[in-house]
């Protein structure tokens, strides 16, 4: 049978006005090929081109507007440095090796913190979903701790592990842990019963059921939780770097602010933004690799 889900079949193509069967006027309604059907490759290329141009064009336009506003002195460039001045400052910092040092320090913290938090969180979420007793024991606790603002526990972390790298990595890991654990938990809890019954009927062991049904069924949502947590890890990074360190992009922002170096501060802010975009892109890519069946929400091959 050719059961094609509508969203797979036509993406979000603009539908003919008669597609829903709404009244259009007396006469004949025609279903004929549109541009998409006449040359699907060209249509797709064009569409990708439009999407990409928008993704790049809109930020570029905004930056140009900012630059123009700064040059025309509509905005005070002591607070809102012009993009050109920021770029100039970034180049200088990069030449000195400072920018690289700060960026690497931040990247390392995010990678370690996220890796630790996401792996422990995923395992804990899965275990809680599969074990009734552990769920009963720890689910309320998980939710109670989840709502404690993580930055608020930074002083406690300083007390326990000292003010070094570990406190920063742990702060990120803890924030990531809760988001990942909770999203994984619900994902694994909501395995469609029909799939579980297939496993049961074939006499699948507990482990087999977990590995071949529960886990893959939950993976698309688990990876979505990772993506959410990847952004949170960068948010926490900046908070952690505002104190007790002398490197990292967050430090760069805070330090520059204290010295009233607006351009340098913006270099740090832009750097953090780029780190966030890159990192969530990487996490998304990894998610797509390990759960290739997950719906992607963009045009893909029509299946028949």
């Amino acid at each position: 049978m050719t059961n094609v889900h509508p969203e797979h079949a036509v993406g979000r193509e603009p539908r003919a006005p008669d597609a829903g069967g709404a009244p259009t006027g007396p006469g004949t309604v025609v279903r004929a090929p549109g541009p998409q059907e006449r040359d699907p490759e060209r249509w797709l290329r064009r569409r990708r081109w439009v999407d990409r141009s928008l993704a790049i064009g809109v930020p570029v336009v905004l930056v140009v507007a900012w630059e123009v506003a700064a040059r025309a002195e509509w905005i005070d460039d002591r607070y809102y440095a012009s993009p050109w001045a920021i770029a100039d400052r970034a180049v200088t910092l990069a030449r000195d090796g400072d920018l690289g040092r700060h960026a690497w320090a931040s990247t390392k913290r995010v990678l370690l913190g996220f890796g630790l938090g996401a792996s422990v969180g995923t395992v804990v979420g899965l275990v809680l979903a599969r074990s009734r007793l552990l769920r009963a024991a720890f689910e309320p606790l998980l939710h109670a701790l989840y709502v404690v603002p993580k930055l608020a526990i930074l002083p406690i972390l300083f007390l326990i592990v000292g003010i070094g790298e570990l406190s920063k990595v742990l702060l990120i890991a803890i924030a990531v842990f809760f988001v990942v654990a909770i999203s994984t938990f619900y994902a694994a809890l909501l395995t469609p019963p029909g799939f579980l019954e297939v496993g049961q009927s074939f006499g699948a062991s507990r482990w087999k059921t977990f590995r071949s049904i529960t886990l893959p069924a939950a993976l698309p949502q688990i990876t979505a939780g990772w993506r959410l947590a990847s952004g949170i890890s960068v948010l926490m990074l900046v908070g952690a770097e505002f104190s007790n360190t002398n490197e990292g992009l967050g430090y760069l922002v805070w330090h520059s602010w204290n010295l009233f170096l607006a351009e340098q501060m913006y270099v740090g802010i832009v750097g953090i933004a780029l780190l966030g975009v890159l990192f969530s892109g990487v996490v998304k890519w990894i998610g797509g690799r390990i759960a290739p069946w997950a719906p992607k929400g963009d045009v893909r091959d029509e299946v028949i």
């Binding site: 049978m1 050719t2 059961n3 094609v4 509508p6 079949a9 036509v10 539908r15 003919a16 006005p17 008669d18 597609a19 829903g20 069967g21 709404a22 009244p23 259009t24 006027g25 007396p26 006469g27 004949t28 309604v29 025609v30 279903r31 004929a32 090929p33 549109g34 998409q36 059907e37 006449r38 699907p40 091959d301 029509e302 299946v303 028949i304």
Partner: protein
């Protein structure tokens, strides 16, 4: 897209319709040069092996897909009515809406006022035998009841054309027979144009004025067989020898296509 009028004795006209899907490793042609005329008020059943493009054709008629080439024209006799309503095979009843909410859906889309919509929805809910279940959620219903909800949801909008994609395929045999008879009764009252896709030859002959047979993929027209039984028709025709003979005849034609589609030698 209103153009030159179709002759009034044609409700749906498909001409050289081809539909290709992008797929890996190679594009798949589901429908290839398919042509068909359907008269107003005609009940046409389409049968063919799995993957022959039956559903693709239906989705093209419904406007859910557009053809890769060729065209399909539909006469709109009464522009105030929606043109098409579709009953899908399964998973199409919204779990987050009650029975009444599901049946109302099409009316809401048409902007029917709340009270009228409720009235019409309730009317059709009882016509398909679900009175008393208006506020039940689909999760609490059996498969057959869900399919009745889907049926009522399509019927309630009073479209000119009713498209049904294996609506009873997921049901057990007894329920299927019951719903077939109900559909016959309901259809008899207003005789709207129906395109009905099925795997069951028995079902096709019982319900249809014509049985259209399609080839294995890529789907082409293989045979167009009129059903000789008159209307109003009841399930009793199943007992006649002509019924069995017709079923046999269609099966023989279909058999080689099924074998072709499964890669077995004919």
């Amino acid at each position: 897209m209103s153009e030159a009028q179709l002759p009034s004795e044609v409700a749906i006209r498909a001409r050289d319709v081809t539909r290709t899907f992008r797929a890996r490793p190679a594009p798949v042609t589901a429908l290839d040069g398919f042509s068909l005329d359907i008269r107003p008020g005609e009940f046409v059943c389409i049968v063919g092996p799995s993957g022959c493009g039956k559903s693709t054709f239906m989705r093209l008629v419904a406007g859910l897909l557009r053809p890769s080439s060729g065209r399909i024209e539909l006469s709109q006799f009464r522009p105030e009515r929606p043109l098409c309503a579709t009953v899908f095979q399964d998973y199409s009843v919204f779990p987050w809406r009650t029975v009444e909410g599901n049946v109302r859906f099409g009316l809401e889309c048409l902007g029917v006022d709340h009270r009228t919509a409720t009235e019409r929805a309730r009317h059709w809910i009882s016509r398909v035998g679900l009175a008393g279940f208006e506020s039940a959620y689909p999760a609490a219903l059996s498969g057959g009841m869900k399919q009745r909800v889907a049926l009522a949801r399509a019927l309630v909008v009073d479209s000119e054309v009713l498209l049904m994609d294996e609506p009873f395929a997921a049901l057990d045999a007894q329920l299927r027979m019951l719903l077939q008879e109900e559909l016959l009764r309901i259809w008899e009252q207003d005789r709207r144009t129906v395109v009905f896709i099925t795997h069951s030859l028995d079902e096709a002959i019982l319900l249809g004025d014509r049985v259209v047979l399609m080839t294995a993929r890529p789907g082409r027209l293989k045979a167009d067989i009129p059903v000789p039984f008159g209307r109003p028709r009841t399930a009793d025709v199943r007992g006649s020898s002509e019924f069995a003979a017709l079923e046999q005849r269609i099966w023989e034609a279909l058999r080689e296509e099924v074998e072709a589609s499964t890669g077995r030698p004919a």
